[in-house]
Symmetry: C2
Subunit: 480 residues, 2 copies
């Protein structure tokens, strides 16, 4: 008889979970790092780990909130600007017991109000703080919504492919079915509504009740920005098919072109008027981990619910209560993100300078990376319009695929492992996100420091040249 | 056809969850507070919310980690002691990217090492950092372990009754079966191994595969400290029955008597030698939210695994990876808790003075509260040996039970609601924790400020007198 935590008898859904972002490649990279090799961790969107400095103002405010006794120190004005001091007092006034006390399980009411005001400014429609729940990062919110929706393996969730594997992992964990819809690489990773309809119909023919649809806008790992017309089509589709739309909008501040600005799903939905605006169930997610903040380690996020019945909202509240409250410092970061310094504030110009420098540099890096990949043999890459990733297709020659098979590896895992060993660049194989049969990619973040970028791309090119030299007989292997 | 988040069609396990700590009483208390009534929130162990001041040293260190630019400020020495500065540098050296970077999903290796050293000092046996996972509070760890163990509703978990409802809630959420074993109120909430065996056998006869057992030591809500002999019996039982022991030891620093000090389950297990020490699967949980820290809002915790196969440990790692990493400031609080200032450090004496004042006062409050309850008509209460709660039995007269029925309320909910309306004291009815048929309790924390305690107990007594006056015909209603 097995003991309760023997591998053979643990929850099969746990075993079924795959999570490539921290999978085989990451584990091998960690090993190599321990052995003293210099690793460039571009496997996860973790800007501070690659040298991005935190914005000063929010850190000043949270430091003061952590050490409220500093507010009474006569020297405080020598180390902190007065608007940071004032803002720290403001956030402390929203808590009862400071950062050491559990908040309401939905988050501090005062911060949820700040989020609602931000959403109203962004979208032009009022937002209700009672329908905004703060979370320990956006992932926790996504997991909570999927757990609420999924009942069994006949419940399906439409997920883009390629996708951020949070979705596939969470759907496995909760025992549901992932219903993939393919993004079109040749159309700049666009979403074709006919594809979507076909995926839905196929799933239904297989006895799946499709209950929700995920969009990631801007895309992860694919970097595209959805157009207003496209989102409108999606919302109509969700209305017709009675699907909850889960809108992962965590990269809404990460936009690197001017043609297609970010527009929230909610703004478009409410602009469509009834019946859509009154009927489509929408949950949208945001975080302090991305944007120009990159405060991943603080674990702050929120989700906002539209057209969700109050009885369901109450159930979500109840389940959130089990783990008492999201971390309070992360909530304050979120408040600061949605309510940053304003013109006229002492810290305003510094804040704007710092933010702009980060975003401008990310834009440059997006270009350097895309161009770098496109200059490599057998590599093609769409431009990163938004988010933090580059997702080049690697046209692996048959000999490489064969060598991978011999090594017992998926071909793109084989390629990425060799890349890691040769250069220290830690990426995630495309198979971790899903891709069409016989097509291979890798995902890398665009986050290495701007000054390191040329050397990294040179190192990649050199590796890729040697790899192709070894495995590619056809010198003129065609571009897509 | 319903939409995906319509109440009728959401996950039934979500609906089945009950979580009384933030249930009807809490919601009513929040309403009353909004209406301007002064509420004493004793429903949840949230010390800072009731005025407990944070310990200075850890807050200094974390503030410096949040604002590392302060370390270069020439004035830093005027506001921070040198050991706090040094410690902040230490923790920053353990991260790559400071508090804004995701850590490894198990937590920062350097802090897991500090935890392992703490456990070794505490127990006298070495501990392996690779088997220690940091979490956003202990609850998240408990939920992760239960999710790993539970496969379906035929999997049972032995849980003490009364219990902290995290366990019942999480078991419902993951679709398992709670197998209750009763603690003996007349034996100071002791655990009788024959009771335990009987519960196990009954469950097995009903087709349940019992896979794990929970103990809460010191007890929540019951406040008892388990004896060494008792824990040894439990471990033998788990060995014989092949049960995982989930040891909730979050109150290990909260001890208010000298007869029965806290001894960890792990220390006893390893002291028992083979086969026990090599076979019994044990997971123990700890947190920064309790003890004299009370840093609930920071969400820092850990679990340590003993005798869990490596393949299962890897699965747990994989699932932890989905939400990327526990919050990093909370990890640093945990590091500070397990590695506090030492004799000779500049901050040592202040740290000890602050800690001792909190623990001494909690000990006094435990007495004031127990004595207060025992001086009330129809109320009996075991002494709070440890943890943070008082769990008096309220002997509700038949007329009160009848009145409750008429009002459509469970009798102890009826009593607690009336208490709340009359006095502003927000408690949790015993039915939220489980209790024997026909017996009624309430749980209150012992956390109101020491100076407020006499007035609160007076106010309780006055309410209870009036309540009993109204509903109790038998003047001499017998004590237990």
């Amino acid at each position: 008889m097995s003991r309760g935590l023997d591998y053979e008898v643990i929850n099969e859904n746990v075993k079924r979970v795959a999570y490539a972002v921290r999978g085989e490649l990451y584990l091998r990279a960690s090993e190599l790092q321990k052995e003293g090799k210099k690793i460039i961790f571009t496997n996860v969107g973790n800007p501070h780990a690659l040298g991005q400095k935190p914005l000063t103002f929010p850190r000043q405010v949270v430091a003061l909130c952590q050490a409220p006794f500093l507010l009474d120190d006569p020297h405080v004005g020598m180390m902190f600007p007065s608007d940071a001091i004032e803002r720290a007092r403001h956030y402390l006034s929203l808590t009862s017991g400071g950062l050491g006390a559990y908040s309401d399980s939905r988050g501090l009411p005062g911060i949820r109000k700040e989020v609602a005001e931000f959403i109203e400014r962004r979208d032009g429609y009022p937002s209700d703080p009672e329908l905004i729940y703060l979370t320990d990062g956006a992932s926790k919110g996504v997991m909570q919504m999927l757990n609420t929706i999924i009942r069994n393996d006949k419940d399906g969730i439409l997920v883009p492919v390629p996708q951020y594997p949070l979705y596939s992992a969470a759907i496995s964990l909760f025992g549901g079915s992932l219903v993939p819809y393919h993004l079109e690489e040749t159309a700049n990773w666009g979403l074709d509504i006919n594809n979507l309809r076909q995926s839905l119909n196929e799933a239904r023919m297989n006895g799946i009740t499709v209950r929700a649809m995920v969009i990631i806008n801007p895309g992860n790992p694919t970097g595209q920005c959805l157009s207003e017309a496209n989102i409108r089509e999606i919302l109509k589709f969700c209305y017709q098919q009675k699907l909850v739309l889960l809108a992962d909008e965590v990269y809404q501040q990460n936009i690197y072109q001017d043609e297609r600005p970010f527009i929230s799903s909610r703004k478009i939905l409410l602009g469509m008027g009834p019946p859509f605006s009154k009927e489509v169930q929408l949950v949208s997610f945001h975080t302090v981990s991305k944007g120009y903040w990159g405060e991943c380690g603080q674990r702050g996020g929120y989700f906002e619910m539209t057209n969700i019945p109050l009885k369901t909202v109450d159930e979500i509240y109840k389940v959130a209560s089990i783990s008492l409250s999201p971390n309070v410092p992360g909530q304050i970061f979120l408040g600061l993100m949605v309510n940053p310094p304003k013109p006229g504030d002492i810290s305003y110009s510094k804040f704007v300078t710092e933010s702009k420098a980060i975003l401008d540099s990310l834009r440059k890096r997006a270009h350097i990376m895309t161009n770098g990949f496109n200059s490599c043999r057998n590599v093609v890459c769409n431009f990163t319009e938004g988010a933090m990733y580059s997702f080049p297709q690697i046209k692996l020659p048959p000999k490489a695929i064969e060598a991978a098979k011999k090594a017992g590896k998926v071909p793109d895992v084989f390629y990425c492992l060799k890349l890691l060993e040769a250069t220290g660049i830690s990426t995630v194989p495309g198979s971790g996100f899903g891709q069409k049969e016989g097509v291979f990619h890798l995902r890398t973040t665009i986050l290495p420091a701007e000054e390191d970028m040329p050397a990294i791309m040179d190192s990649f090119k050199k590796f890729n040249d040697e790899f192709m030299e070894q495995y590619d007989d056809k010198k003129g292997y065609s571009r897509m």
